[in-house]
């Protein structure tokens, strides 16, 4: 009985592929089978480790084509896709490829038809394998080990999805030709000693070294090169899916970097939350920094920052709301009408202005332009809170015993919350560092009043200042 008769009788064949990535072997067998007219549903393709032989009873002796059997045709494109698709871990791949070779004998251009399910499957396999190879080129991370002979050896652990290891050996050889390296995977291992490539059996993660001195540098680099103002986690994940993370040393940083980026953004909104270690260390540094500050929109107006002034160790710190038009022009606090009024009152109370540190809750002048005039605008609570960072930095350096807040905005600048003037006026509020806060009206408020109302408020203001003076004297004594 000839083999051709076998076929006609409808025999089944099983082809065992010796190595899961053996394209040449598959090609040779496929050619013979097509030449013997064995239709795809009569062939089972198995590879090492594949489960169950459905065709156990099949005639494994393959038919041999006649010498003059017609040549088999397959498009160039098909061959290049097939060479890659063979590396896929899909157990159906050999059958799919055989089916496509079979079909090409009667439909020579079938592989150009992207709407055909077999062709689409082939392309999908090819695409997955190419992606896996690409990720291997990218995500293999070598770790250095010193061998007994003192030579450096670079060892990587990688977990490919498909049988791509051998196919990609050349890439690593060309790149690291003069290095000694090994790539360990659960599917097999590669070892290059600078002149020859050796293949080895599958390895386990524990066989690879666990760390490398350069890893700290690499992680530092990874953390520093990323711009927290541009968080795009989705874009990162689509290129570096989580399944690869476990073998990338830098990936352990990602959760913190993402969380940190959000808080770094938030910090720009609420500067008060900045780390204490970032605080400027001198009043001059604060002065310089507030001129650059744009943490809130006021800094972007056409103005300059106004720094507080007075002796660094002053026992009294007087805080106003914000510089006005004249202060902004002069670059000094409390030089306009309200400042002159303040000077008069504190002199009356027996306080020397020169001995106090005078500053504002907000460092830039907020205004709207009306023709040539710049009209004062009250800062919002958020702006005051943002600028608080600077006020606190000043306070930390001046270390006053008493802080006198002029008006509700100034009080908010110290306390971080709004208090009712009626409730807090006239009595000290203890602050965390042991100093105390006194709150009174802003002198600009007095300027807006007249008649009886003015008399009443002026008296209250004088009373508050007198109380502060008395307390100061008591503290100094």
């Amino acid at each position: 009985m000839t083999t051709m008769q076998n076929v006609r009788l409808g025999a089944y064949y099983a082809v065992h592929i010796p190595r899961p990535d053996d394209f040449a072997f598959w090609r040779e067998r496929a050619r013979m089978l097509v030449q013997c007219d064995v239709p795809p549903d009569r062939v089972a393709w198995t590879e090492p480790g594949s489960s169950g032989d459905l065709f156990a009873g099949g005639d494994t002796r393959l038919p041999v084509p006649d010498r003059d059997a017609r040549p088999i045709r397959a498009s160039k494109r098909f061959l290049s896709l097939a060479r890659n698709a063979v590396l896929h871990s899909d157990s159906e791949r050999f059958a799919l490829l055989y089916r496509l070779v079979w079909r090409q004998q009667t439909q020579p251009r079938i592989t150009e038809d992207k709407t055909d399910p077999d062709v689409r499957k082939l392309e999908e396999l090819d695409k997955n394998v190419r992606r896996d190879s690409h990720k291997m080129h990218a995500f293999v991370r070598f770790r250095q080990v010193k061998e007994q002979d003192g030579e450096e050896h670079y060892v990587a652990w990688f977990e490919p999805d498909h049988h791509i290891l051998r196919a990609n050996a050349g890439f690593f050889k060309r790149r690291f030709a003069n290095m000694r390296w090994s790539i360990l995977t659960p599917r097999g291992t590669l070892h290059w000693d600078g002149s020859t490539m050796r293949e080895g059996p599958p390895a386990q993660k524990g066989d690879a070294p666990q760390g490398d001195p350069a890893e700290d540098l690499w992680k530092t680099y990874y953390a520093s090169i990323f711009n927290p103002a541009r968080l795009k986690v989705g874009a990162m994940l689509s290129e570096m899916p989580k399944k690869y993370w476990k073998n990338l040393p830098e990936a352990s940083l990602i959760p913190d970097l993402i969380a940190g980026a959000q808080s770094r953004e938030a910090m720009m909104v609420a500067a008060g939350e900045r780390a204490a270690s970032d605080r400027p260390e001198t009043l001059e540094a604060i002065d310089r920094a507030i001129h650059q500050c744009r943490q809130c929109p006021i800094g972007g107006l056409d103005n300059q920052a106004v720094m507080g002034e007075g002796p660094a160790g002053a026992a009294l710190m007087i805080v106003g709301e914000q510089p006005g038009d004249q202060e902004d022009r002069a670059g000094r606090p409390f030089v306009g009408p309200a400042g002159q009024l303040l000077d008069r009152y504190i002199e009356q109370a027996g306080i020397e202005r020169r001995s106090a540190y005078v500053t504002n809750a907000v460092k830039h002048f907020k205004f709207v332009q009306r023709g040539k005039r710049r009209l004062h605008q009250s800062p919002t609570a958020k702006e005051i809170d943002t600028c608080r960072w600077w006020l606190e930095s000043e306070r930390a350096l001046v270390q006053p015993k008493i802080v006198l807040a002029l008006g509700a905005s100034a009080a908010r600048g110290i306390l971080g919350k709004t208090v009712s003037m009626a409730k807090v006026r006239g009595a000290p509020i203890p602050l965390e560092d042991g100093s105390e806060l006194w709150v009174t009206a802003h002198p600009a408020y007095l300027l807006r009043l007249d008649g009886a109302a003015h008399e009443e408020q002026a008296a209250l203001f004088a009373r508050d200042l007198a109380a502060v003076k008395k307390r100061l004297a008591g503290l100094e004594a």
Binding site: T115, F139, R175, N178, M179, L217, S224, R230, M236, Q292
Partner: protein, 414 residues
């Protein structure tokens, strides 16, 4: 300055480099380390070895040699008047870092730029020296990108090009007025002069290579530049116009756009808000349309709105199609490749698939669905044997129908 460790310097000098948008490591001459003494290969396509949480790929060690600078450009975090922490690498230190990262397969090579210290020439010399150590002492065959200093001596730029795969010079800002205002120490004519010089050198080296096999290579991956978007008032039309002039005049490989991002300790002349990242994305899309889809710069400008900016809610290709509805629908069975490339939602790949498939069969809407990613966007603009969008392209609300839902936009732009 107290003694800094390599780790501390790296932290500062990589951080200072993070505002640079260019990172690509592709398109250079093929090299490998077989038969050499060192290591490294380039195989056409560059490899992204990691991705940062900002979605950008990391393929190169991107650092500054130093972030000290004698210039005072407002948009730059390293400007003289900024009080950032400063650090300085030696050329040897950068070369060592590059090699040690490369050996572990972390990177494709080095992208080195620098603040200007002492003088432009001195700085450029240090950068060239770094590349020299890598190439000559270590026979390094990976990728090197040097950001040249426009004011440096042309001879130094020539040396840089002999070691580097790619050279770049930042144009910084799309308009001369913006440059004058924000980078008072820089000069547009000098920057473009340097680009012209680099272009000449590249062209000459290519010619020589054709005639003499052993002629030295000069920046085989060409030159690129970067423009900051959103730091001045320049519109997208200005930017696209500038980019296309640069492409034409200097045969650039790429123009990178970097959305101005708020920098710590920012200068007061900068705008308060960063431009939406999506604007940068739209500019890259339009760049793509010009490079791969045959759009003329003028056509991109036609897609901008009254303010000269590209719409943010839809991509520039769709914006163009909505303005030139009379060009649609196109018949997928008969239309030319050029016409198909203009269909919103049809990419280069999909078009070539359609061209092949239609030789074999008459295409139905179903077939198109299989060949493309999403049919919804394409449908109003095509005709198949079983589909004709009659009045769709005339519908006044077509834009609303096709624009992605607002929430998506917000997410992306965040």
């Amino acid at each position: 300055m107290p003694h800094q460790t390599i780790l501390q310097k790296l932290e500062i000098l990589a951080d200072a480099a993070k505002y640079d948008a260019s990172c690509a490591s592709s398109g250079t001459a093929k090299k490998n380390s077989l038969g050499g003494k060192g290591m490294g290969s380039t195989e056409g396509m560059g490899i992204c070895h990691a991705y940062a949480p900002d979605g950008r790929c990391i393929s190169l060690l991107k650092v500054l040699l130093t972030n000290h600078c004698i210039f005072d450009c407002h948009y730059c975090i390293n400007r003289k008047s900024s009080n950032v922490r400063r650090a300085r690498f030696t050329p040897q230190e950068v070369a060592d870092l590059t090699l040690s990262f490369y050996k572990r397969n972390y990177i494709e090579g080095l992208f080195l730029s620098s603040g200007i210290i002492k003088s432009s020439n001195h700085t450029m010399e240090q950068m060239v020296e770094t590349a020299r150590i890598l190439r000559e002492e270590h026979d390094f065959r990976g990728y090197i990108h040097l950001k040249t200093i426009p004011e440096a001596d042309p001879e130094l730029i020539r040396q840089a090009g002999l070691y580097a795969d790619r050279l770049s010079i930042n144009v910084e800002l799309p308009t001369d007025a913006g440059l004058t205002r924000l980078a008072p120490d820089k000069d547009a004519r000098q920057i473009e002069g340097a680009m012209g010089g680099t272009k000449m050198a590249i062209v000459e080296a290519k010619d020589a290579k054709k005639r003499f096999k052993h002629a030295p290579r000069f920046a085989p991956a060409g030159q690129s530049t970067q423009m900051i978007v959103g730091a001045d008032a320049a519109s997208d039309a200005d930017i696209v116009g500038k980019a296309s002039r640069l492409y034409d005049n200097f045969r650039l490989r790429r123009v990178y756009y970097s959305a101005f991002s708020p920098i710590p300790d920012a200068s007061a002349v900068l705008p308060l808000k960063r431009p939406p990242l999506i604007r940068e994305h739209r500019l890259y899309q339009s760049d793509w349309l010009m490079r791969f889809y045959g759009y003329q710069p003028g056509e991109i400008m036609q897609a901008t709105g009254a303010d000269g900016n590209l719409p943010l809610d839809i991509d520039p290709k769709l914006a163009w199609a909505l303005k030139f509805r009379e060009q649609f629908p196109v018949d997928v069975q008969r239309a030319s490749k050029e016409q198909l490339l203009r269909v919103p939602g049809l990419g280069v790949k999909a078009v070539s698939r359609i061209l092949i498939a239609r030789r074999h069969r008459t295409l139905r809407l179903d077939d198109i669905a299989k060949l493309t990613v999403s049919l919804g966007k394409i449908r109003p603009f095509i005709v198949t044997c079983d589909w004709r969008p009659t009045l769709l392209t005339d519908r006044a609300d077509l834009r609303r129908l096709l624009a992605p839902k607002q929430e998506q936009l917000e997410l992306f732009a965040a």
